[in-house]
Symmetry: C2
């Protein structure tokens, strides 16, 4: 299954967090199964808050891009059409909120699961859970605002 960000139009493919065309970026990848967005991400060793623990700002980046990817995928679904059909749906982040529940261990793969909580014509609200080794360590909410093209 291709990931959501690979279907973004070229002008939106440069995002540091998730743009396939940004060579220095994080390359967050959202997979949409029709119900939720899934993202697996293994931070680099330098992405630490302190030794052994993932930097919270990186977690905010992952939730931001994965939340928006999920919101865009869900918005296409809500209109009953495929991801790369015209007119393109693009969104920016209106608000991002992250609660850090426990230290996130650095070294393994993180799993982010995102679900739409509210779908409006202009705004989509997404909740995102982050877990490491099966343990929930952070919870976020992302407000996607649709760009009128």
């Amino acid at each position: 299954m291709s990931y959501i960000q690979s279907l973004y139009p070229p002008e939106h493919s440069h995002c540091f967090g998730c743009g396939p065309a940004n060579p220095a970026g994080l390359h967050v990848r959202t997979h949409w199964d029709g119900k939720e967005g899934l993202c697996r991400y293994t931070p680099n060793p330098e992405h630490m808050a302190y030794p052994g623990v993932v930097y919270g700002g990186l977690i905010a980046c992952l939730m931001d891009c994965h939340g928006i990817g999920t919101a865009i995928a869900a918005a296409y679904d809500a209109e009953g059409r495929p991801m790369n059909s015209e007119p393109r749906i693009n969104m920016v982040t209106g608000n991002l909120s992250v609660s850090y529940l426990a230290p996130t261990p650095l070294g393994g793969e993180l799993l982010l699961r995102a679900r739409v909580k509210e779908m409006g014509p202009k705004k989509v609200r997404v909740a995102c859970d982050l877990s490491a080794g099966g343990k929930l360590t952070a919870r976020g909410e992302i407000l996607g605002v649709r760009l009128q093209l």
Copy 2:
């Protein structure tokens, strides 16, 4: 004036966002004037959301580290003692919330101004404004939770 993060104890100097000892990090620097925390930061060209606009996840990183730096400086002040005195005050982020009010232009210096809104024995709440070229583009709130050492 030395910046707050240069006074962090060695075990807390590796943070990707603000640790002086993390060579790959962002090196956020907080200056505390006794009333507010100031941070000037020029993002790299790759830190884009789309061409010409700063990536929101980077803004979240800046607010996270600058908010915690401000909270720590204010907590020492509240106890009437200098930043590097014992016992050390360390904090982690409990919650981070950012509202993106307008696109933040990429290319120039950003200014972050942070102020304590609530100072408790265990938790400090900090508000942070980010502006570019004199225009406010994002507003954040950071909850710092004191580590019991």
